[in-house]
């Protein structure tokens, strides 16, 4: 499935900004599941320096600086992405979760160092016994890993309310956990805390959903903005994605932009400004199917 993807962010500042520096993670990921056929980044006013590199987690990161007095900043990322058809793994056939967790106890066999990084605490997600307790109800003695994760995702979806005003990017995980409400980012963080507290590697995924659902299907939550979900490492399959906000295993309607330990590793656009006063931001995301190739 091919998509035209446009992500436009516009900032309005109450005071002029004399210098601004931004880091953007807006270019979709190239991996076994998706190809990126085109990517352009349009920035207004034009930056006087812009560099792009691949970050520690393999995401494309662009850093740019603007030294022209401005009251508005517009960043528009447009890409053409092809998502390959994908057969989701059969959960019942996955290895027992305890066997997977055992792989990531110290000392670690060197081949597993990559996933190992996602078992540990990260800036926004700290493991704790309460998460292990709650998550443990989905993982019996002989539960296959992915069966447990599907169950956990379902419970998360049922017990946590989707509430776009309850939280913002700065709301700590503990508060989301107490209030039992939040948005996709929060649900992904809760899932990460649960899985890591059981000793399972799990990572954060940021990306998009198609804006208009295929005929006959309901519009998904989070389709008009950046979306987020999580991914679990399963030795037989590699990383397997789960979308707790919509309670489903992503197939070809999810477009991945970046992966990391939590939101702080993949934040789509963050900036440090000199001046600026108060700011307002508007974000518009459009994901339009271009039809299927071949």
């Amino acid at each position: 499935m091919e998509y035209q993807l446009i992500h436009k962010t516009v900032y309005h500042y109450s005071e002029p900004v004399s210098v601004s520096q931004h880091a953007a993670r807006l270019e979709p990921l190239r991996d076994s599941r998706q190809d990126v056929m085109g990517f352009t980044l349009r920035i207004e006013p034009e930056p006087d320096v812009l560099t792009t590199r691949t970050d520690y987690f393999g995401n494309s990161t662009t850093v740019f600086g603007i030294r022209e007095l401005h009251r508005e900043l517009s960043v528009e990322a447009s890409s053409v992405v092809a998502v390959r058809p994908f057969m989701p793994p059969v959960p019942a056939l996955s290895p027992f979760w305890r066997e997977v967790a055992a792989l990531f106890r110290d000392p670690v066999s060197p081949k597993n160092t990559g996933p190992y990084e996602f078992v540990l605490d990260s800036p926004l997600v700290r493991i704790a016994p309460v998460f292990a307790q709650w998550a443990g109800r989905s993982f019996g003695e002989k539960t296959p890993l992915l069966v447990g994760v599907v169950d956990l995702m379902g419970r998360l979806h049922r017990e946590f309310a989707f509430d776009p005003v309850a939280t913002d990017v700065a709301t700590p995980l503990e508060e989301v956990w107490e209030e039992r409400r939040g948005v996709c980012q929060d649900f992904a963080h809760v899932a990460l805390a649960c899985l890591r507290s059981l000793g399972l590697p799990a990572r954060y995924v940021s990306g998009y959903l198609r804006t208009v659902p295929p005929p006959g299907q309901a519009r998904l939550q989070g389709a008009d903005a950046s979306h987020a979900w999580f991914s679990v490492f399963c030795p037989a399959n590699g990383w397997v994605d789960f979308d707790p906000t919509n309670n489903l295993i992503p197939c070809d309607g999810h477009l991945t932009v970046a992966v990391g330990r939590d939101y702080s590793d993949v934040s789509p656009l963050c900036g440090i400004l000199t001046g600026g006063g108060e700011h307002t931001v508007s974000v518009a995301v459009d994901v339009i199917p271009l039809g299927t190739r071949r």
Binding site: T9, Y11, S18, V19, Q21, H22, A23, D48, V49, T51, R53, D55, Y56, F57, V63, G65, R67, D106, P107, V108, P110, T113, Y116, E117, L120, D121, P123, I127, P129, A132, V169, S264, D265, S267, P268, L269, C270, G271, I272, L273, T274, G275, G276, G277, H279, V281, V283
Partner: protein, 824 residues
């Protein structure tokens, strides 16, 4: 536990010869001389302002540095062993850092458990792959070492991020060598200066600028004056000849780091940082940091600046690394680790975890990475008991380490009442040069609170010592100032002043002058206030009271006619001593403000200047128990005298560079404003022409003598106003201040087009014209009411325009960059 090793006795009972000689000399001084020297050490520390900031200390933020003038002695052969051990350790640490931030081969080969790196909050993924041009990640390293009962040295902890204390070591040396000059000469003590000279040349060599373009610019990046070791940062910066800057003084433009100065941006080549790893760049590291430089990581990536130590070097401070060092040493350096570490178990290893859980009572349990989890001390210090510790270890074993408790060796300490022996820990400093590590021959020795205590930290008030490493040969004198083999460029202007410092100098000028005016107004009021004459002279007192009100020295309403004498006395007490924010103009509040500002420019001003200002603060800190006008006037006289000595030092000793210019501008602006504030009150007073009131005008403007020498008669309204407003030969007159300001403005670096009249100049011309056109004789004509006179209009104009001028200067030169963040 076996008995502690005694430094003086070595392995035997009789003092080792070096110690014997030193102790003998101290003994020979006699008790009186010993006491005198002990006091002189204290005084030197105080006079040099050597301080250590203690967080949340009730005694105030700054605490004098605790120095025991009796040094720690080490023979050259003993030192050679320490050197070998620590050079090896530093070399190893540097290689491990290079691997962690590079190929991570040690993890792939199983030498390093991945959790040691990946579980560390200080492992900065954003700087992974950045390799310093010199290949040295760990430019500066320190180790805390201590001696066990068997006499062997052990490493207690590693300082790989920001090794603190080298500056205090220098300060200690200075004082100790002066307190014990004979012993210092005779003992052949190895000098420290050579190490710092190497330090300078190594940092200069790290300069990344192609072609060099003259001397590399090295800056010391400080978290600011509230940091615990700010004194030493300023001290080191000054000693090494570097600018001390805060994050907001630097900016990144086109992947290069620049210093914001009065005349624009100047490139920075090398940053010696005292800001923690993750706080150095709010853009790519910790988003909530206010101490860093946005874009610094990108400049490092581009190789346009070098930083010491490399960002992310803090990971090796984790005690969890220690159990792996022997194996790492064999794998990386191909040899045995020479100096052992204090026995440490990382619970991430199953065998270690078992060991720890079995011996929980005799071990200290600490967080393995950073201090976010509680520390479980020995037996008694565990609120949840051993069960709580067990649970915490079981849930996330990799988060915990356990350490053995060691009995440190005892060193003799010189205390007020005599010599006692206390446990000692030594911090040794190493520098990574292109040819390998070198060791500072000396170090910071710290002694514990009493025999048997193990935790030693300057935060809880232990004392420090100089460390004398003795030499077999005569020692060579090294000076840091200039090596003879490199030519010196003559300079008439210092390094360009950072905008932030210009700002601080300007406000220091304003506040010292405000303090001066406040003391003067109060003194004039007190001289006219006497309970006996009561209300009779109150008419002439009222303008002074109104001015005190306007200056926030006394509460609003104090100038009212029905204010009782007792209430006024209370007001006056407040005007001196109040610390309430509502009395912002009280002498004590102003003095505190002045000292705070002086602290911010301390690395640019002389010690004398600092002393004058801190005495000023001291002089208003001792409160009178009850009101005594005589005592109060005495105090005000002292304040004015100290204020005058401050101004004298500024005038006679400060180079006419930009710092001085902004200080003087601040003083001029404030003096003009204080004068006009007071004149505005006196001019409209019912008895504006009363000689007593005019006397107070002359007093306020410090022009009494000038007036008498000119007029030889009772103060006359016209003549007094002419002298204090318009006489450009009177250094206290309004016109004189305005003309000085004009000269300063002409000499400021211009940023806009040349030849154009700058906005601040425009404002000043307006005032100058009004003042020059004014004829004081209008006041004698009796034609208009004084309140509606041109003079009154001028006063009002000054009070309106000068604040605008101050504002324009701030916008143009101080660029107070308010940083904000966005995240979407």
């Amino acid at each position: 536990m076996p008995a502690s090793y005694r430094e003086v006795a070595g392995s035997g009972v009789a003092p080792q010869s070096d110690w014997g000689a030193l102790m003998g000399e101290i003994e020979a001084l006699g008790s009186q001389e010993r006491a005198r020297r002990f006091e002189s050490a204290r005084r030197m520390i105080q006079e040099q302002g050597v301080t250590y900031n203690v967080y949340g200390d009730a005694l105030g933020m700054e605490r004098p540095w605790e120095l025991d003038p009796l040094p720690m002695l080490l023979s050259s052969s003993e030192w050679a062993g320490i050197e070998r051990g620590l050079i090896q350790r530093a070399t190893l640490m540097n290689s491990v850092l290079a691997d962690c931030y590079g190929p991570q081969r040690l993890i792939q080969s199983g030498e390093l458990p991945p959790a040691l790196l990946f579980a560390q909050p200080d492992f900065l993924r954003a700087v992974h792959g950045i390799r310093p041009a010199s290949g040295v990640f760990l430019n500066f390293y320190a180790a805390d070492i201590a001696r066990s009962p068997e006499g062997r040295w052990w490493v207690l902890s590693d300082r790989t991020q920001i090794p603190t204390g080298a500056g205090y070591t220098l300060a200690n040396r200075l004082v100790t060598a002066r307190v014990l000059p004979e012993a210092f000469r005779e003992s052949r003590v190895q000098r420290l200066a050579g190490f710092f000279r190497q330090f300078q040349s190594t940092l200069a060599g790290a300069c990344a600028r192609p072609g060099g373009g003259g001397e590399p610019r090295v800056v010391v990046l400080t978290p600011g004056p509230y940091n615990e070791t700010y004194f030493e940062q300023a001290y080191l910066a000054r000693y090494l000849g570097y600018s001390l800057v805060e994050g907001q003084d630097l900016t990144v433009h086109n992947r290069r780091v620049y210093l914001k100065t009065l005349s624009g941006l100047e490139p920075v080549d090398v940053i010696l940082r005292r800001v923690d790893d993750a706080f150095c760049d709010p853009l790519e590291l910790r988003n909530d940091s206010i101490l860093g430089v946005p874009g610094l990581t990108e400049a490092l990536r581009a190789g346009n600046v070098s930083i010491s130590n490399a960002l992310g070097s803090g990971i090796l401070q984790s005690p969890a690394f220690r159990p792996f060092l022997p194996a790492l040493c064999r794998a990386v350096l191909g040899g045995e680790l020479l100096m052992p570490s204090l026995a440490t178990w990382w619970c991430g290893q199953e065998s270690a975890q078992r060991e720890v859980l079995t011996n929980l009572d005799s071990l200290d349990v600490h967080p393995a990475f950073g201090g976010v989890y509680p520390t479980f001390g020995g037996g008694g210090a565990r609120p949840l008991g051993n069960a709580g510790v067990r649970d915490a270890i079981h849930f996330a074993p990799h988060r915990w380490v356990a350490q053995e408790r060691m009995r440190f060796s005892l060193a003799p300490c010189w205390e007020r009442d005599g010599i006692v022996e206390k446990p000692v820990v030594l911090r040794v400093y190493l520098l990574g040069t292109p040819d390998g590590y070198i060791v500072m021959p000396g170090g910071l020795a710290r002694t514990g609170m009493g025999p048997g205590s193990s935790g030693i930290s300057m935060q809880d008030g232990s004392a420090s010592k100089d460390t004398w490493v003795l030499s077999e040969q005569p020692v060579e004198e090294v000076t840091l100032l200039q090596s003879s083999d490199s030519p010196i460029l003559l300079r008439r202007v210092g390094n360009n002043l950072p905008s932030r410092l210009a700002d601080n100098f300007f406000w220091l000028g304003r506040y010292t002058e405000r303090l001066d005016a406040a003391a003067r107004t109060l003194r004039a009021a007190l001289l006219r206030f006497s309970p006996e004459t009561g209300g009779r002279e109150l008419e002439q007192l009222r303008p002074l009271l109104r001015t005190l009100e306007a200056q926030d020295q006394i509460p609003p309403g104090s100038a009212a006619e029905d204010r009782s004498v007792e209430a006024l006395e209370g007001d006056f007490l407040e005007a001196i001593y109040s610390q309430s924010p509502a009395r912002a103009g009280s002498l004590r509040n102003l003095a505190a403000r002045v000292v705070r500002l002086a602290m911010l420019v301390r690395d640019r001003t002389s010690n004398d200047l600092w002393r004058a200002l801190s005495q000023l603060e001291d002089s208003v800190a001792i409160e009178m128990t009850s009101w005594s006008a005589g005592e109060a006037i005495g105090l005000l006289n002292r304040v004015l005298l100290l204020s005058a000595s401050f101004k004298g030092i500024v005038r006679e000793n400060m180079t006419r560079a930009q710092g001085w210019r902004f200080l003087d501008m601040g003083q001029r602006v404030e003096r003009a404003m204080s004068l006009c504030t007071f004149l505005r009150e006196t001019l409209v007073a019912p008895q504006a022409g009363h000689p007593s009131l005019l006397e107070s005008v002359l007093e306020m403007a410090d022009s009494t003598i000038t007036y008498r020498s000119r007029y030889n008669l009772l103060p006359n309204l016209m003549a007094v106003y002419d002298l204090v407003l318009l006489d450009d030969t009177n250094p206290r007159s309004l016109l004189f201040q305005l003309e000085q300001l004009e000269k300063h403005l002409q000499r400021l670096p211009r940023r806009g087009g040349a030849g154009l009249v700058a906005p601040e100049q425009r404002l000043l011309i307006q005032l100058l014209n009004a003042a020059r056109l004014l004829d004081a004789r209008e006041l004698g004509s009796g034609n208009t009411s004084l309140g509606a006179s041109e003079t009154a209009r001028l006063l009002q104009l000054v009070l309106t325009v000068l604040p605008q001028l101050s504002e324009v200067l701030a916008v143009t030169y101080f660029e107070h960059s308010h940083i904000s963040r966005t995240n979407a």
